[in-house]
Symmetry: C2
Subunit: 368 residues, 2 copies
DNA sequence: CTGAAAGCGCTTACAG
DNA sequence: CTGAAAGCGCTTACAG
């Protein structure tokens, strides 16, 4: 009935210090320091003695003290595609709201803008920040091998690199923080299938560009599920929009007139403000089922308005928090703490976060 | 085209130190220290001078240095309901996997077991840990005013308290980490409504106990949505099971025979291993739609097996990480960093995390 | 290859 | 009410 302590403990507080290790090993503090930090120039024998003492005492290095003495500061940068994209506005907003809380942990973060989907642009951006010698960077990447060289330079110089939202070539980054987009597409497919409850249906898919890995992945995941499990649902050829809201609006209107049998729309990419506008003007008596990606101001609103039924979101806020945690661990040279996969999050109008996502609408028009 | 730095920065590194403040204020380090830490015994005039210097320099206290000098250690405890519950096994597993990563931040965490749903038990548990003088505790709470007294004692003694998963009386905790269960129920209702696509339906609801706030909240959220938006769906009276898997199994079997019109089952509470067992034996030709709560080993499996269609999960891993972040901030006396609401997460079989949740099956039978 | 000493930015007695 | 000094657990020159 009373509280009984169990397992998960480990005495903290009287942790052995490096002087303890040195004393037990019978060497000076300086030598002990040399071996635990691999600074070399230590006799084999001393190394052994120190290692023995370490394991005997269960020594754990106090990173905070080390960082203090070294005046360590974490200089981070996020490289985000520039432009009028609501999703990345949300990312920036979260980053902005975080900075004042990060200073107290000696973390500073800059955000740099890069040209979206442009290998050359990304390459130049990477090159241009080499001199800034950041301790860690998170970059919304591209798969091209062309950026291998700047990434290598950054690595050589000691900056830790992770891919964010869209991965980098796997050999040139320490981690990837983002969702599995095939899974995201499959999830959309599953829910769309469910919503038809065995009835016949027909889906208009909308895509930004098949060159974008995330779009292509979502599309193929979606197709997989529909063809595997929902033979009652027909798929029309996807329409490309380059994520342009006006294009999306035009396409949606046209498709709905030309194809009165359409029962559902799935927008794999961005430009949802156009989609919502088109739906608002739609005069079809029978509404259709609508799934889109990323919760931002207008998709949030459309969910409440019932113009959209489901939003699949990748939780940029948790992606950012994770990025920072991981970069810090990388920089400190420690293990990355265990974390569960990032999962594509499904929003209906009932599990929406109470605070509308911080989309700073600093751009006159908001194309996502 | 090149990276251009923007906003989110703030110089770190050459942050002014307290000696700078003291020098600018024209007082000794010790006095400056007294005023920034509110230790009293300082002349009005000195206080003012120090404050002026602080804001002039933009002084930010270095918490790491302070903690080092004070040999600060974060002694945390989690009070979890004891017993054979798969959800809390998952919580414990995550906690266990975290401890070795927390030591390096001078954080230790104990986990204590308390009697589930038992006010007296909780009260005694709280009382019994007063002497341990933890710096912070996270407790799976109850709403009763009976526990106000032990909570007050803990607070007076300086331990920070938060409610986890199930809240404490609001006056006696600094924060609550958990989902909104009305929203969770509404979400279940919405998806169940969707799955019927306008067809007639009939739902058998299963509940652990209406005395449990979370169960009651989910049930009422669920009912709200169905009655608001899905008049085609009928709700049978909920059946109580005290979260006992065998009871759940029996109830499900019986209900399905007695009510052949049942098109869906929603288990608001636990005991899902029983539900799955019953479904596996079910011989009805027409399968029905099934929604449950919490992703654990057997619900995960049932999702893949198609015995269950949807799982609504509260992501205990993120709840725990957040609890620790919040407790640490509370203990350091700093602001809690901005975080988005915890949202009820929807799993279909396509957005499942790749690693099966760590349910340590240390109990022979697993009742959730 | 090894060690003594100062310093990182704070807190905590201790003396005035 | 005020200040000088030692110490927290490390790192970084600097001297041997």
């Amino acid at each position: 009935m009373n509280a009984s302590n169990t397992s998960a403990t480990r005495e903290t507080g009287k942790n052995p210090t490096l002087s303890d290790v040195a004393r037990v090993a019978g060497v000076s503090y300086a030598t002990a320091d040399r071996v635990i930090n691999d600074r070399g120039n230590v006799a084999e024998k001393s190394v052994r003695k120190v290692h023995d003492a370490m394991s005997e005492l269960g020594y754990i290095r106090n990173v905070a003290a080390a960082n203090l003495s070294r005046q360590r500061t974490y200089r981070l940068a996020f490289l985000l595609p520039k432009g009028r994209n609501a999703f990345f506005s949300r990312v920036r907003a979260h980053l902005d709201s975080l900075v004042e809380h990060l200073v107290v942990d000696q973390i500073s973060v800059d955000v740099s803008e890069i040209d979206a989907f442009d290998v050359e642009g990304l390459k130049h951006s990477l090159l241009s920040i080499v001199d800034a010698s950041y301790d860690g960077i998170a970059v919304v990447g591209l798969q091209s091998e062309e950026i291998a060289e700047p990434l290598r330079k950054l690595q050589e110089q000691g900056t830790s690199i992770i891919g964010l939202v869209s991965d980098l070539p796997v050999d040139h980054r320490a981690a990837y923080v983002g969702i599995n987009n095939v899974a995201a597409g499959r999830t959309a497919g599953r829910l769309l299938g469910l919503s038809h409850a065995g009835r016949k249906g027909c889906v208009q898919m909308i895509v930004g560009s098949l060159d974008a890995r995330d779009h292509a992945d979502r599309l193929s995941g979606f197709r997989e599920v529909i063809s595997e499990d929902y033979p009652n649902i027909e798929l029309l050829d996807p329409i490309m929009t380059r994520d342009d809201a006006e294009k999306v609006a035009a396409v949606v209107k046209e498709a709905l007139v030309a194809e009165p049998k359409v029962s559902a729309v799935y927008n794999v990419g961005a430009g949802n403000s156009g989609l919502v506008a088109a739906l608002e003007q739609c005069t079809r008596p029978k509404r259709f089922f609508c799934i889109v990606h990323e919760l931002v101001a207008h998709t949030h609103k459309a969910l409440l308005n019932k113009h959209i039924d489901l939003v699949i979101d990748q939780r940029p806020d948790v992606e950012i928090n994770r990025s920072i945690t991981i970069l810090k661990a990388l920089i400190d040279g420690r293990e990355i703490p265990p974390m569960q996969d990032l999962v594509p999050t499904i929003y209906v109008r009932d599990n929406l976060p109470s605070h509308i996502p911080d989309t700073t609408l600093r751009h006159t028009q908001d194309h996502d």
